[in-house]
Structures are given as C-alpha cells and as structure tokens.
C-alpha cells in the first residue's frame, strides 16, 4: 500500500513537470492551432539560459526565473513575428514545417555553440529530500509542483480577467470576428506564442536543479507534452494541469506494475485512448 502511495505521489511530482512543459503548448495550440514542433528545442534553449546564468553569473535558477521567463517571452514574440507568422502564410502544414525547421536549427545551433556535453546545475538544495509521513520527496520536484500550480493559476487569471487575455481568447474562438472588433490579430498571435514560450522559461528554471541539459534534451518531453495537451483539452489550463498530473500518475503506477520499460507504454497508450474516446479532453477546451 505504501508503495502505491509513493508511486502516486511521485507521479504527481513528475506530472507537475509535464504540466510545466505542456502549459505553453496548450496555449499555443489553443490559440494558434499549430503543433509547435519547436517546443522541446525551445525548452532546451531556456534550460541553457538558466544553466549559463548559474555558471557564469552565479544566479540560482529559482532566482533567475523572472529573467529567463521574460527573455523567453521576448524570444517567442520575435520568433513568431519574424519567422513563423511571416512565413507560414496561414497554412497549418507550413507552420508545422517551419517549427520543425526551427527545432533543427535550435538543436544544432546549441550543439555548435555549447557542445554536446551534458550540463548540470549543483545547488545546495538539488539533492535535498523532504520527509512527509512515509513518503520521501525530492525538494526541487516539490518546488516545481507548486510552481506548476502557481503558473496555471496566474495564466488562468490572466486569460480570464485581463484585457489581453480576453483578446487572446476572442482571437482563439473567432478570428474574423475578433479582427472586426478591432483586435490586432497578428499581434495577439505573437503575444500568445510569446506567452507560451515564456512558460517554457519558467519550466526550464524549475527543471534545472533536478535534471540536466544537453542539445537533444528537448526530445524527451515532446510526446509527453502533446499527450498532456490533448488529454487536458486544447487551450485549457486546468485541463493541462489535470492532464499532466494524470499522466504522471499513470506512468508512475504502470511502471510500478509493469516495469520501467513497459511502463513507458502508458503514455502513448493513454494518448491513443484519449484521442479515440474523448478527444476534446477531460475539460472541454476552447474547441
């Protein structure tokens, strides 16, 4: 019993990581309807940013979070304006190929500039453990858990109550109508993409203390992120939160029963089942 409890708790903690990565993706997908192939690579770049701030300027990743997040927003905004929005001509397939091209560029530029070594961050709390009853929890993972909750909350409130948020939602729901109401649709698209990447910036800083970065690290998260997004419902933050947690727990529990390797099957399997039986997700998204 204890064992299952720990599996569930650990599942929630790893799920939080998936939420962090997926939350930007669900926003981007929900608003722009594009499968952002570059998501994993951009996460990787944000993690490098966090790493270099730590190594060269001695800024702790948690403290660097605001800086990296803002930087990521600007990077995402510019990327959309300069490349994605400009060259896609609005066609979905084109955007796909462009984000694919971006991920190839990002991964190999990282390889060229930063070399292929794996980098880790060693902070005082990296290996700290918290004892909560019978369960041992990794401190950085607990921090990312709460970080995910806070991020979801902030985004949810922002989307619901701020003018920009409302504009974004309008654009997502009804583009032509939004434009006719005077909303600068292209600007909103760029802002949405920027916010999506900003989430990656936050995720990167929360991840670094317990993980590592190398040019190809983004690939580990891509499929899980997509699964989370679809499970939770495209465009729904509460959905991404619930979806990520559910996936984390499912993966954790199935690993406990079927072994680490076969347990990995939980994710694509879950993905397939959700797509077949409830493609709009747990929380019906903006679709």
């Amino acid at each position: 019993m204890d064992f299952i409890l720990t599996a569930i708790v650990n599942g929630l903690l790893s799920g939080a990581v998936y939420v962090l990565v997926a939350i930007g993706l669900t926003l981007i997908y929900g608003v722009l309807h594009i499968i952002n192939f570059a998501h994993g690579s951009l996460l990787m770049l944000a993690m490098y940013a966090s790493f270099f701030l730590w190594r060269d300027l001695h800024v702790d990743p948690y403290l660097a979070l605001p800086v990296v997040t803002v930087g990521a927003f600007l990077a995402g905004y510019v990327l959309y304006r300069a490349v994605i929005g400009r060259f896609s001509a609005g066609k979905d397939e084109n955007i796909l190929l462009i984000t694919l091209g971006l991920s190839i560029i990002a991964e190999n530029a990282a390889l060229f500039f930063f070399a292929s070594d794996t980098r880790t961050v060693a902070t005082a709390y990296s290996d700290a453990m918290l004892e909560v009853g019978p369960v041992l929890l990794s401190f950085p993972k607990v921090v990312s858990f709460f970080g995910a909750l806070v991020l979801c909350m902030i985004l949810g409130l922002f989307m619901r109550y701020s003018d920009t948020g409302r504009a974004i939602r309008a654009v997502a729901k009804e583009r032509l109508g939004a434009r006719l109401s005077g909303i600068d649709v292209d600007f909103m698209y760029a802002v949405s993409y920027g916010i999506g990447i900003a989430c990656l910036g936050a995720a990167a800083c929360l991840l670094m203390p317990s993980f590592y970065v190398s040019p190809s690290v983004g690939n580990s998260f891509v499929l899980v992120a997509f699964t989370t997004v679809v499970l939770g419902g495209m465009g729904s933050f509460a959905g991404a939160l619930a979806g990520g947690m559910l996936i984390g727990v499912a993966e954790s529990v199935s690993s406990a029963f079927f072994g680490e390797q076969l347990g990995q099957i939980a994710i694509p399997m879950l993905f397939i089942l959700v797509l077949l039986f409830r493609p709009t997700g747990i929380f019906r998204g903006t679709q």
Binding site: N108, L111, T120, M129, S214, S252, G259
Partner: protein, 403 residues
Amino acid sequence: MTPHLKHRRQFILGSAAAIAGASIPGLGRAQNTAVKLGVVHPMTGPVAYNGQHCRIGTLTAIEDLNARGGIKSLGGIPFQAVTGDSQGRVEVGVSEVERMHNLGVHAYVGCYNSPVTIAATQAASRYGTPFVVDVGASDLIVSRKLENVFRFSPGFGKCVDDGLLALTEINKKANGVAKTVVLVHESGELGTGTIRLLQDKLPRLGFTVLDTIAHDTPTRSFDNVALRIRGMKPDIVMHTGYVNEYMLLARTLQRYKVPAVRYSILGAGFGVKFAKESPDAAAYAMDFNHWYNPLDSRAVDLKKRIESKGFDYVFEVYCAYNAVMLLADAIERSGSLAADKIIQSLSASTWDKHFMPYGPTRFVNGQNEGAAGCGLQVINDEINVVFPDKFAQAAAVFPRPAS
C-alpha cells in the same frame, strides 16, 4: 569550461583533419603518397559527445604518427584523415563509407554506435577494406565472420565476464558479504545485451538477482526506480546505460539514500566529469569499463594534451587513439597499402605498444582477445583502477561505507 575553449574545440575538430592532410607538401589524390584513413563517427545527434571524443582521439593519433615521420616502411608517407559524420544513422554511416571509398581510403575507423558499426563494416567488407572498430559494444559486430573487421576494444561479453570476475574477487576479499543484486539497464543493444549475460552468469557465481529494471533512453525520472530499489534492499545495484541516465540514476539513488554498492558494467556515465560534478553521488561508485593504463606515462601525457584542447579524457579518446596506432603498426609491418596485406598484418598482430590495460594484441574472429577493461572506483573524488592488481592504483573500498 570557458566559452572561449568551447569555440577552440569546435575549431580543432574541423581543422585538425585539414592539418593532418594539408601541411604535408605534395599531397595529392595519387594512391601511395598518403595513408588515407576514413573516420566515421556521430558528430551530431544524441551521442555527439561520444562521437566527437572518438574523433579527437583519432586525429591526435594521426598528428602524432605524422610527427614521428609517418610509415617508414613505405618511405615515410603520412596519414591523412578523411572524416565523416554518421549522425548516428545507419544509412548516413553507410553513405559515408561509400563516399570515403570513392576518395580511396585504405582503411576505416569507427563508428561508436553499434547499429551504424554493423552496417558500415558490412559496406566496407564488400570492398575488402580493413575496418578497425574503436568503440562499439555489441558482440554482433564481430559475430559475422567478416574478414575485414577488427575490434580493438572488448565487447560487452568480455566486459561482463571480467567485470563479474572483478566483482567476485573484490567480494571475496570482503568475506563475501554482498549477495543480492538489482540490475538496471537501458533498453537498447548495450543494456539488453549486457543484462542478458548478467542474468545468466550472476546466479552461477552465487549472487541472487532480485530484480531487473529496464528503462528507456532518455529517461526523465528515476524516482520510482530508486524507491523500488530501496524497498528491495539489495547489496549491489548494477546499472548499464548511457551518460545522462547513469548520472541521473546515481544522483537519485544518492538522494534516496540507497546504501547498496554501485557497481556498473559499462556504465557510460561513470567518469571524471561525474566524479567532479556529483561528488556525493559518485563517492565509492564502481564501474567496470574501458580505461587507460594508469601506470603508463604516455597515457597521462596524452591526458594533458587532450584536456588542453578542451576535451574530456574519456575512453572514446584513448580507445580511438590506440586503435589508429594499432592500424599504423600493422601497415608498417605489412609494408603495403593493399587491403589484403593490411588485413593479414592485422590478423597476425601482436602489438603491445599501446597504453591500454591490455595484453599483446591477438585477433580471433575479428575480436582482440588481448583487450580487457578495468575495475574502477571513485575514491576521494578521484577515479582509481582497483582491478586487476597488475594495473591497480588502490585497493577497492567494498562494501560501501555508511555515509
């Protein structure tokens, strides 16, 4: 490592190849003015780190050979590297082999990834061109009776046998106190091949395998694995995997205060970097892996040179370095650049001027039977050879002292 050094590194990987060829006057495409060596490794992709280190080892060896005057029996002709990036993909590796054949290479060195090595050596075999495998763990590489294939370093079969021998001896010295084992492995060729052998042999040596845990490459989290292992309370945890997963698991086990001995066979993440960056997790960790002969000053000299170029002194470097030296010796003795003569020469090779902990070279079915790995342990933040006694720098600390 400063950013400055990083750029120097990139520059070196590219220019060393050019230097190896260009600085020698009169070098043309004519057949016997240079020994052309095809160098195929993954420069990009997920194992770029390892491939790049294989390449720098190869290029440094060529530099040294040329500085010494090249192949004397052929009139002092130099080596010329023809480098290629396999990207870790089979079809690209084979394509590179073909391209290099077109450029008239006399031999190949490569390819780090087992699948690429298998396909590339096969492609080369159609031309009968000798192929020296510097690093490539799968025993499938030497199981095909291809006459042109020569693997200099030990495969996982040999590493498992020797690694277990080392373990039993070390355990015996500690009064046989370790009895139970949990096996963790990555799900590819390296992990699966190694683990099958371990599952077979461990019980026969008196150990009980409590569980076998397979994991993907990449793996995002080992928390559950660590908990499971902690629950089983094994004396030893054996992990065969690649760099990132090895380090992640080691750190996770440390966090969960799992007291078991860490003993890996071909644990790819074990190394100087690991010992330096994660001293707590690395303390007393043991690995049976490729290593250099610590008592040979040439090995230490090379270490300084490689590190000054901005690279790490990992086994990819010196395995590749010595593989090229092996080839050079064979060519020197054969006095010919003809493929069949080189192959004959390699087959008969008893070269022992390497600085590996190997005996004299002895190829049987393409495998150097003289090759062997070493038992290593992190003691006081330094990696020491602890087995075999002939090369040992320190006695093994076994079992793990309570922290």
